[in-house]
Symmetry: C2
Subunit: 408 residues, 2 copies
């Protein structure tokens, strides 16, 4: 008998009929002898309906009240799913984030989980109940309702699995696992049997939208066995594990990409200590997340500094950077919001030379101009013009033969 935390997203609970199907799956897991905790999102469409109501009231709704509003979405789902279980004779009980003391910081609309008091859930499991928990939400130390931001239900599931020391955390989605890249772009993309946390982190953060990055971080940090599976068809999914010593890792596991990038460059900044902080400090204070950062030192005692942000933040970032440029006596600010990022990811690349040159050559052969390059231990990212996205991903998928499973 195992303790399993399952998570179902908005599409999987998008109608009364689908909620009934989830109830059947949960009962099957119980009949297989498992204790089950289930985390659910709002029914698909519901969060958007609530956000639209908010935006009809105010362009920038108060964040605390925004959380009070949108957290009702998951609350509806937990009640309906529990009703469906109870109707089938399966004891069940629902809890909001507040009720099971999912303690977060007070960063409304993007709070982070600090602690979970799992004792109440443990009591319910011992009493034979399925425990249904609202994803995406918690409470701060003063009892205010917080939300973890979009997709945060994955994080709720992983955090609960960690707190309960669950045997596995199963994330049910509308795809049947993690692929070498997006099958809509590369038709012969292949489902991975397993992937390491580090690779998954790079894949997730770079735009493979199977799992929320924060949930993967959490799972890695707290040693939670994480599995991605389809809510609609049976199958083993993809297991996300730690790298094992005797594991033959493929050189490249997958290709991630991100359509929503924009880049900004500040040119001719007098090169002084602290200049990077003076450039990025105001951006961070405006709650704009920065992705890639590149700095080149010029010959004349000035430096050029480039970074990328989410495309939605481009205009705001440009305004802030222009003010900063004035303060720093920089020569010019330029930007481009028609760019995308493509990344090769693989723990195996640590021990293999020549990955970068193979990558750059493959892109060059197709006439794709590289605008930025950034590397880490297990990934190489390039920024290219938006129009080259599909061609670039397909070219790299072929160049590294990702359609073939690695030899055992």
């Amino acid at each position: 008998m195992a303790l399993i935390v399952q998570k179902y997203g908005g599409t999987s609970v998008g109608s009364v009929e689908k909620i009934e199907q989830v109830a059947e799956k949960l009962i099957a897991a119980r009949e297989a002898g498992h204790d089950v905790v289930v985390v659910v999102s709002a029914m698909s469409g519901e969060t958007n309906r609530l956000i639209e109501l908010a935006h009809r009231i105010a362009e920038n709704p108060d964040p605390r009240e925004y959380d009070v509003l949108v957290s009702t979405g998951e609350q509806v789902t937990i009640a309906l799913l529990s009703m469906a279980l109870i109707k089938r004779g399966c004891p069940a009980v629902s809890y909001t984030g507040s009720q099971v003391h999912i303690l977060t910081d007070d960063a409304h609309t993007k709070a982070r989980i600090l602690d979970i008091d799992e004792s109440r859930i443990r009591d319910d499991l011992n009493a034979g109940r399925v425990v249904v928990v609202a994803g995406f939400q918690g409470r701060d130390e003063h009892g205010n309702i917080t939300t973890l931001g979009r997709g945060g239900s994955d994080t709720t599931a992983v955090a609960l699995a960690a707190a309960l020391q669950a045997d596995e955390c199963q994330i049910y989605t509308d795809v049947d696992g993690v692929y070498t890249t997006d099958p809509r772009v590369v038709p012969n993309a292949r489902r991975l049997e397993r992937i390491t946390f580090e690779e998954m982190l790079e894949m997730a953060s770079l735009g493979s939208k199977v799992l929320q990055i924060r949930s993967v971080e959490f799972a890695g940090k707290y040693n939670v066995r994480l599995r991605v599976l389809s809510a609609f068809e049976d199958g083993p999914g993809t297991l996300i594990t730690f790298e094992e010593e005797n594991m033959e890792n493929p050189v490249i596991s997958g290709i991630a990409f991100n359509r929503d990038e924009a880049k900004l460059t500040i040119l001719g900044v007098p090169d002084q200590p602290g200049v990077a902080y003076r450039i990025l400090g105001p951006i961070g204070e405006a709650n704009i997340e920065v992705d890639m950062i590149i700095q080149n030192i010029g010959a004349d005692g000035t430096t050029d500094f480039t970074f990328t942000v989410h495309r939605n933040d481009y205009e705001r970032a440009l305004g802030i950077l222009t003010r900063t440029a004035g303060e720093l006596g920089a020569r010019e600010v330029v930007g481009d919001d028609n760019i995308v990022k493509i990344s090769l990811v693989g723990v195996g690349m640590r021990s293999h030379a020549g990955i970068a040159s193979t990558m750059f050559k493959a892109l060059a052969d197709e006439g794709i101009n590289i605008r930025m390059i950034s590397t880490s231990e297990i990934k190489i990212s390039v920024v290219v013009d938006e129009k080259y996205l599909e061609l670039g991903v397909r070219t790299l998928h072929d160049a590294f033969h990702l359609e073939q499973a690695p030899a055992a």
Copy 2:
């Protein structure tokens, strides 16, 4: 400067536009120098939408989960109203019933308020905020979400007013006060400047649906000054007060009526101690509420026993009573679900003789046959055939000159 609790029902907050209007009214009250706590219901239609979802899952949804579900309705409204206030520069904060510790018993779907911890609200008021509280809901001692049943938002408002020792509790509705009777039946029905709690209780329980009866009981018990006003037009409304010694009370304050009555009679019951309990016990156990009860003792050692129930419960009550009649050896069970009840209400009738005879004569003059009579300290009720409802109410309104305000 006064502390005012205002309550707006589902129609008054039924759209984003109406929520914005409520925000304006609240700001006006603040600009008049008042501290304001506001209690709101779910947007009209929302509770029904949620209930329909529940009923698509289960015919009899689990009551605990039902409360988790429907309580989201008010949570949406409090967030939207707070956003509307904050957008207008008015500091505001929303709370669910749980968050302000509206402690109830654990009778899900019809819980009763046991206690309120008003300290958090008091702190917010001191900090200059409008406090927006979800009506209709609370939590039990274990932190489970409870609801007070339909219309319970009035009770929330009165309970908060009591806990905060507010100067006035204002219930905004779609009518501009309490009338001598329903203006749809009697066009010259008159708005009452004031009415006593006792009269209001009789009016409310008899079908004048302006206020939830439980909230009036609460207001009376905790000495809360209660006022009913229109959410859509300005005006003083009707003040609900204690009877004052130097107050010249009108003999009759109003005429209430109830269309949804049905009566059942068990004839020829052997007259033994405990017979009333044996007849009404099974009815009560079936959760059928009994309104009027009349018992006559016959000449032959048997008794006739008549009571009225809500028309929706008529068939069920008839089945139960027929079984009881068999057990008791009664002669016959008869019933009628085409009846209505008309009641004269007024604290002044205590000190005036002849009210009943004036009433009975007026009805007799119009050929209206009285089927049952029941009296209390401040009301006289008659049951008549349904077809006589409008004629009966108009006749009595005229007979007691209710269209004229009483002399001061």
